[in-house]
Symmetry: D2
Subunit: 101 residues, 4 copies
């Protein structure tokens, strides 16, 4: 399944880049396919491995912040592998042109 997630530490100031860098370091080292965008990170995998990763990221932020808001969106579709690449590619194929990524 495809899962996008985003973690916002609350009560640590308006610059939260150091927290996000630590989260993305964990994601990058996890070995799961991922793509980062300006609003979150998309990962692809099975339920257990994806939520184990998100829990690790969330707890890393909570080890330094009093409060965090974490949002997660799952798009689960049977029998569709490699959607992290194929989903946007299939839209571009329909439109017969490339989109900005």
């Amino acid at each position: 399944m495809l899962v996008e997630f985003s973690i916002v530490p609350v009560g640590v100031g308006s610059s939260i880049g150091d927290y996000l860098a630590e989260v993305l370091d964990i994601v990058d080292r996890s070995g799961l396919p991922y793509k980062v965008n300006p609003m979150g990170t998309v990962v692809e995998g099975e339920w257990k491995e994806v939520f184990s990763l998100i829990e690790k990221c969330h707890q890393a932020v909570m080890s330094k912040a009093e409060r965090a808001i974490t949002t997660i969106t799952i798009d689960d579709r049977k029998g569709k592998p490699n959607r992290i690449e194929e989903k946007v590619a299939s839209i571009e194929k329909r439109l017969k042109r490339n989109l900005k990524k």
Copy 2:
């Protein structure tokens, strides 16, 4: 922590009430504190019990649908128990009047 979640089966028609009834039956029998609203369900608990519940609900929908979109929002704040009741109550106290719930 407080967690709101919502599951939308895709590809099963625009009336999804039967799916949501099954999800809420699972939530209601789980024993976790919860509150249902027109857009989702809020539960309170520790990471493992909350995500075990959400996984059970998501898999129940996926056992009957080809695709589902599940959204989850976590509000995790240290040292604050019973926030499922206290969070709105603290706003009403500040406003010195009751809100619609």
Copy 3:
């Protein structure tokens, strides 16, 4: 349409109740049907009136905070009025029992 929204000021400390009280004061005075829950507020209305309200709330928070994260979920379904009451009621009818609200 039904719309749930939630605004989190960032960089103002971990207690954000004063901001949320101001937001809910605006919602309560707007005249739109609404229901508040521990994770957000659900309103029902047409696009223009709903987004005019959310913009007003968002700008009220931004007038005092450096940064805010606002999340909005729309459930738009043709020909279904009063869903703010009917949606949960239809689930309870299916389950033949009341849920916690």
Copy 4:
């Protein structure tokens, strides 16, 4: 401000690529800076122009579907232009390596 949005038509089958292609055609022609990812589209702009675009996309889907779920996340931060490029770049600078995008 940065805004990610995603529209899911409900009740039209589990393959929704034709709807998403129409949405991305509208976004691509809008002239606003954007980046598409496997779970949504991030745009950058002022409130009015961003929500005018999202409304146009949402109504295009509703002109063909009975129901749609649209999710929107706003990250509004004062005095920070070009965040659609700079936000991820600032994380990579902290990590001293490139991330997958």
